[in-house]
């Protein structure tokens, strides 16, 4: 086995034969000579039209292969192709004696250089899009085409690929990608991730890879040639799982004895919404809002938050989205808040406590959530609740924000209110809390830590299956149902197939887990009989 180490670009594992991309020899090099600037201009314009038509023709492929991401990227490329600066620069070069091909490639290079010179890495990555675009037009001029791929799906090796090429071949012909040029924020990389095509960037391609079997690990950034039987079977297995997962699950998560369980997804970023739906999520049971607040030097504005919440709500196409308000504290630094150092951040001012202590932070978040609710069903939950007072104060603030927005005439929607049950206190006074809210969501990770007085990293004492944890879950569920509240569970225990039956017996109505866990959970629930 030969191991080639590269840079991970798109996650996943794929096994198959490597195929190095070739081009068919161009039919015509530069057209009939002698040529004139006008003739070259005509060839240039014709090629641009052809390229634009090709992109337009890929719309449905883009949607099928990569959803909204694919459609957006295609749209961007189509617009770049029409950009007056790009066209004018090419035309001027051609009028001054360049051939159509020379003109478009030179124009492409100039703009690519301009983007490469920007400070912003995102904009730097656009350079590859511009050269790709110029290449696309150039290929229409020269008639250069990619040689057809083999009949079997392959791990495609190339210097670079354009989004158009990826969409043209699709997941039907491609198992994975090995590229020498593929910046992580390039559109090709974004598309590969949206298409779930494992991708690795390597420093160079070797001719002797052609036709050899290999296992590509896009998460580890590794390519293994001539894998042994064990590795191959492991790779095939994870590939089969991934393949199966791509079929959206239609079967309801109902036990053999007819008990319906709602299955939702935990996500940390709006871009995961598509994958959640693809895995059969019936909604988002936990949308962690922290990514909006961390790793930045200023507080996110209400507008910024609203746009991102709305993005998830719209992506979920009418399915419920449960947004957890900020769950941060002294252990997850928010430099713009100037929080005092705490001896014990896990037991300090965090979650709802922090939010209530910082209304300047909390109000914009609540307002943004209320506004996003105008676009689809939204629920909200407070993390780290340990006292009734916290819930009441949170509700009061929420009502104030509602009144403000109404007075301002800003559109908003109804928001269902719930709380996380992740402290022993919350589980023990669940009855009082249940009167104030519509649902609970049990955060088993923190609940286990606090109940067992053991850090998650302390493997020995931290036991999520501990009877104390289950007793607390049972207590919370019983109190919730007594007061007409729904019981959801969003901690890691929800994905633990060994525990599903017990959780359902304890009264859990809804499980929210990482998208990849959902299909397995669905299958497992359908095999349970709780009689």
């Amino acid at each position: 086995m030969e191991l080639i180490t590269g840079r991970p670009i798109a996650p996943g594992v794929a096994a198959g034969p490597i195929h190095i991309l070739r081009q068919d020899a161009p039919q015509s090099d530069s057209g009939p000579s002698p040529t004139t600037p006008q003739k070259e201009l005509d060839r240039f314009h014709l090629a641009c039209r052809q390229a634009a038509e090709e992109l337009a023709g890929m719309e449905s492929a883009a949607q099928t292969q990569a959803g909204q991401t694919g459609t957006d990227l295609l749209h961007i490329h189509a617009m770049l192709l029409e950009d007056p600066d790009f066209l004018e620069t090419s035309e001027e070069l051609i009028r001054n004696g360049a051939t159509a091909q020379e003109g478009v490639m030179e124009a492409g290079q100039r703009f690519a250089d301009a983007f490469s010179a920007m400070d912003d890495p995102y904009l730097q990555a656009r350079a590859a899009d511009i050269t790709g675009l110029a290449q696309h037009v150039s290929d229409r001029i020269t008639g250069r085409r990619d040689a057809p791929l083999p009949a079997v799906p392959v791990l495609l090796a190339a210097d670079s690929l354009s989004p158009a090429q990826l969409l043209g071949w699709g997941r039907e012909r491609l198992l994975g990608l090995v590229l020498t040029h593929c910046a992580p924020s390039s559109h090709t990389a974004i598309l590969a991730r949206a298409m779930e095509l494992p991708t690795v960037q390597v420093s160079a391609l070797e001719e002797h890879w052609q036709g050899r079997q290999a296992v590509l690990d896009g998460s580890a950034g590794q390519l293994r040639l001539d894998p042994d039987a064990a590795l191959l079977s492991q790779a095939r297995h994870s590939e089969d799982n991934a393949q199966e997962l791509r079929q959206p699950s239609q079967c309801p998560a109902v036990t053999l004895d007819g008990r319906n369980v709602a299955l939702l997804a935990n996500i940390g970023h709006p871009e995961e919404a598509g994958r959640a739906l693809a895995r059969g999520a019936e909604g988002i049971g936990l949308f962690r809002s922290e990514f909006l607040f961390l790793d930045r030097d200023c507080c996110p504005t209400e507008e910024e938050q609203f746009l991102l919440y709305r993005q998830v709500v719209q992506a979920m196409e009418g399915c419920r989205v449960v947004i957890r308000t900020l769950d941060a504290g002294a252990d997850k630094p928010l430099p713009y808040l100037d929080l005092p150092r705490e001896e014990n951040p896990a037991l300090g001012c965090r979650g709802i406590r922090l939010s209530l202590a910082q209304p300047g932070l909390f109000r914009p978040q609540l307002r943004a959530i209320l506004r996003a609710a105008a676009f689809g069903p939204v629920s909200l939950m407070f993390p780290m609740v340990s006292a009734l007072d916290e819930v009441i104060r949170g509700k009061t603030l929420l009502d104030e924000c509602r009144r403000e927005l109404a007075a301002e005439g800003v559109p908003m929607g109804p928001v269902e209110l719930g709380i996380m049950i992740e402290t022993p206190a919350a589980a023990l006074i669940a009855g009082e809390l249940a009167r104030e809210v519509s649902f609970f969501s049990i955060g088993t990770n923190d609940l286990t830590q606090y109940a067992l007085a053991a850090d998650r990293q302390e493997a020995a004492a931290y036991d999520p299956h501990h009877p104390a944890v289950l007793a607390l879950i049972g207590m919370a569920a019983e109190a919730a149902h007594r007061h007409g509240c729904r019981v959801a569970l969003c901690g890691e225990l929800g994905a633990d197939l060994e525990m599903t039956e017990q959780l359902l017996r304890l009264g859990v109505d809804e499980l929210s887990a990482s998208p990849s866990a959902l299909p397995g959970l669905r299958r497992h629930i359908r095999e349970l009989d709780l009689r």
Partner: protein, 85 residues
Amino acid sequence: MKKFSYTITNAVGIHARPAALLVETVRKLSSSVTIRKGDQTAAANRMMALMLLGVAQGDQITVTLEGPEEERDAVLLEDFFRANL
């Protein structure tokens, strides 16, 4: 001539997707629109030029409109910015 200032709130600034949307929006208006950041200007219907302005979150830009319906167009454009950038 109509002008308004706007401070970008979008985390990634005027990157490809909002630039594409902006160009599309501006196309439908009868006004000609320019965006200025600092001492750099770009016509708002030129996507590459817009992106090359390098407008990031927190940057203040000045939007200038010129045309028979510039008042109406300014309102439409300002709404667009609030909703997308």
